[in-house]
């Protein structure tokens, strides 16, 4: 009880002396403020990127393997991949027939075209030739109308399903269903509009909402297909392990391509996990660099606090002498100065936190969805108080060890 009271008194005395020197305290806290804004923003941005990324790759499905000519993440010799043959539609059909255990096999092919409805034109829209199987491998479904059907594929129907952004920009207030739009120079009838999915465009990935889906057969007929590379999504059966399934898939692909046992695979199998793994390692490096930089800035801020605390101790040498003469113990003096530096830093931490909320709101509006988690906010305040203790300790220790007589005599 008594010692708690003494702690509270030291706290009050510490705050009192801060109030006497507001401008200096605020200036000193600036270093901490900047450091805290940097720390929180770094962590929040990393968090936001992660969430954004996970959201967009989850559209790929964790139990879906993607067969393609090139690996998604190219490591090693690029030229080795360059000579690989394109994956063809025939190969995809063979694969679909052979992979009996697969829940879905969906070949896709893509290009970029301008699209037009009446006078409205959008350039460089990603056109995806796909099949009805897409509904089985991807999570997004049409919001209005329907997706492509087996029938559309079989009979090369000139129909399309558009992403939500395409609908907004091309049709505005018009109901797009059964309207005819132009893709390149060909006419397609809109049969469906996809639900909003969000975008991976931030990572250079596809913007799902800006895509137009057409039957893969019509795609080939309209835009040519022989020279194009296709990708095949293969969905694993629910009970099988993905590794076993991948093994089977590689085997079938090798048979289709008639590879000899000594030949290397001339195709790649990709999956969401590899993207996640790559993302995590890249993020790890980015976050580490960010934290090193912000730690340095906090350290510099801390040095500023230490410097001001030394000044404060020297300025108040006489006061320390007086306090000791009337019975202040060492720990009372130590606590007084520690609380003072903690108060400066806590102030810096809180202002920094407020600043970080501002920066995060900006990021949220302009770049990507981002929010400060309560954990990060708490951590920031704790860190700043910790800096107060860490960097305030030496000056406070010095103050507590002053000889009372010498301190009293100080002018």
């Amino acid at each position: 009880m008594k010692s708690l009271r003494q702690v509270l008194e030291s706290l009050r005395i510490g705050f009192d002396s801060l109030r006497a020197n507001k401008a200096r305290g605020v200036l000193t806290a600036l270093g901490i403020i900047i450091g805290i804004v940097a720390v929180i923003t770094t962590m929040t941005a990393a968090n936001g990127l992660s969430n954004n990324f996970k959201e967009s790759v989850s559209a790929l499905g964790s139990d879906v393997l993607y067969v393609s000519r090139m690996p998604w993440i190219v490591t090693g010799n690029f030229f080795e991949f360059r000579n690989r043959p394109n994956l063809t539609l025939e190969e995809a059909e063979l694969l679909a027939r052979r992979m009996r255990s697969a829940r879905a096999v969906n070949p896709t092919i893509n290009t970029s075209k301008s699209i037009k409805y009446r006078s409205e034109v959008i350039e460089n829209v990603e056109i995806l030739g796909t099949t009805d199987q897409q509904m089985l491998v991807a999570s997004a479904v049409p919001e209005i109308g329907r997706f492509l059907t087996r029938f559309d594929i079989r009979f090369n129907k000139s129909v399309c399903v558009i992403g939500s952004t395409v609908r907004e920009r091309l049709f505005e207030n018009v109901d797009p269903l059964n309207k005819t739009m132009k893709i390149g120079r060909r006419r397609f009838r809109v049969v469906g509009v996809m639900e909003k999915q969000g975008s991976a465009a931030f990572f250079g990935g596809p913007d799902f909402d800006s895509q137009v889906f057409v039957p893969i057969t019509s795609f080939v007929k309209a835009f040519g297909g022989s020279h194009r590379d296709i990708n095949v999504a293969v969905k694993a059966p629910s009970q099988a392990s993905l590794a076993d399934f991948e093994f089977e898939l590689i085997g079938e692909m090798r048979k289709i391509r008639k590879l000899r046992p000594s030949d290397r695979d001339n195709f790649s199998i990709n999956q969401m996990d590899s993207l996640v793994g790559m993302f995590n390692s890249v993020m790890g490096v980015v976050v580490t660099i960010g934290l090193v930089i912000t730690t340095i800035s906090l350290f510099v801020g801390g040095i500023g606090v230490m410097n001001i605390m030394y000044v404060s101790v020297t300025e108040r040498t006489k006061e320390i002498g007086i306090r000791k003469a009337i019975g202040a113990k060492r720990r009372a003096i130590l606590a007084q100065f520690l609380f003072e530096s903690m108060a400066i830093c806590a102030f810096g931490g809180l202002v920094g936190l407020a600043g970080a909320f501002g920066v995060t709101a900006l990021i949220d509006r302009l770049v990507m969805p981002a929010t400060i988690s309560p954990g990060i906010a708490t951590l920031a305040v704790v860190i700043s108080m910790g800096i107060g203790v860490l960097f305030g300790f030496l000056p406070a220790w010095k103050a507590s060890r002053l000889n009372p007589i010498e301190a009293l005599r100080y002018e």
């Binding site: 003494q6 006489k318 002498g321 003469a325 009337i326 019975g327 720990r331 009293l408």
Partner: protein, 233 residues
């Protein structure tokens, strides 16, 4: 005995030039004595007061305060002794300028760990006793020298010390204000306090009942005050 000192030596400057500020001073002061210490400048008066006040340890010799050996105590124990047994009044007042009068006076109680309510009561009473109850919210720079010294006296008294030490308390005051302070000390003595006063002025020393003269770090004489002798006669 309140103070029992034997063979106190204080040497400054450890290596090159040694100054012997006190050479084997022995001194006893009983409860409720009123002692004045006089002597030329540099004779060791302040040094002796600082040792009596446990602010400075003696180089050698033994010192017990109310039967407690303080010459071997550690710094934090000494802080406690200063807090609870000693009240200081300095020539330069030594108030904390940015804290108000009330806070200055309650400070020794804070370091003792007294509760807020009790602190308020005791500090107010002490300020009342020195006639400054209406200036509690003022800061020391807003007060006159005499008022500041009265605040310092109130601060020295809040913990009911066994010993009130005043090193030239009127040194920075004009003679009228100085005698006001002196009559305040007289009252405190009449209330049963033990007082040790350092002064240059015989006028002031006359308030005490015993006069100790220091010269070159030794006690030259230790006599009952003539005034006291006259008064009691």
């Amino acid at each position: 005995m309140t103070i029992e000192m034997t063979d106190i030596v204080k040497t400054y400057g450890m290596n090159s030039v040694e100054v012997q500020a006190l050479r084997r001073v022995s001194l006893s002061v009983a409860k409720n004595e009123y002692v004045a210490i006089m002597g030329p400048s540099g004779s060791g008066k302040s040094t002796l007061m600082n040792i009596i006040g446990c602010l400075d340890p003696p180089t050698s010799g033994s010192y017990s305060l109310e039967g407690e050996d303080v010459s071997t105590m550690k710094e934090d124990q000494l802080a406690e002794v200063r807090n609870q047994k000693i009240g200081f009044v300095f020539q330069t007042f030594n108030l904390i300028a940015r804290s108000n009068v009330f806070h200055n006076v309650e400070l020794p109680l804070i370091y003792k760990g007294v509760s807020v309510a009790k602190r308020r009561k005791i500090a107010e009473e002490a300020l009342e006793a020195v006639g400054l109850a209406d200036r509690m919210k003022h800061k020391p720079p807003e007060l006159s020298g005499g008022e500041r010294q009265r605040v310092a006296i109130a601060r020295a008294l809040v913990n009911k010390p066994s010993l009130l030490l005043a090193d030239e308390p009127t040194g920075n005051l004009d003679s009228t204000t100085g005698s006001e302070i002196m009559s305040l000390l007289d009252d405190l003595h009449a209330d049963g306090n033990t007082i040790i006063l350092v002064t240059h002025e015989p006028e002031m020393a006359r308030h005490a009942h015993r006069i100790i003269r220091l010269k070159d770090g030794v006690i030259e004489s230790d006599t009952a005050s003539s005034a006291r002798a006259k008064r009691t006669a």
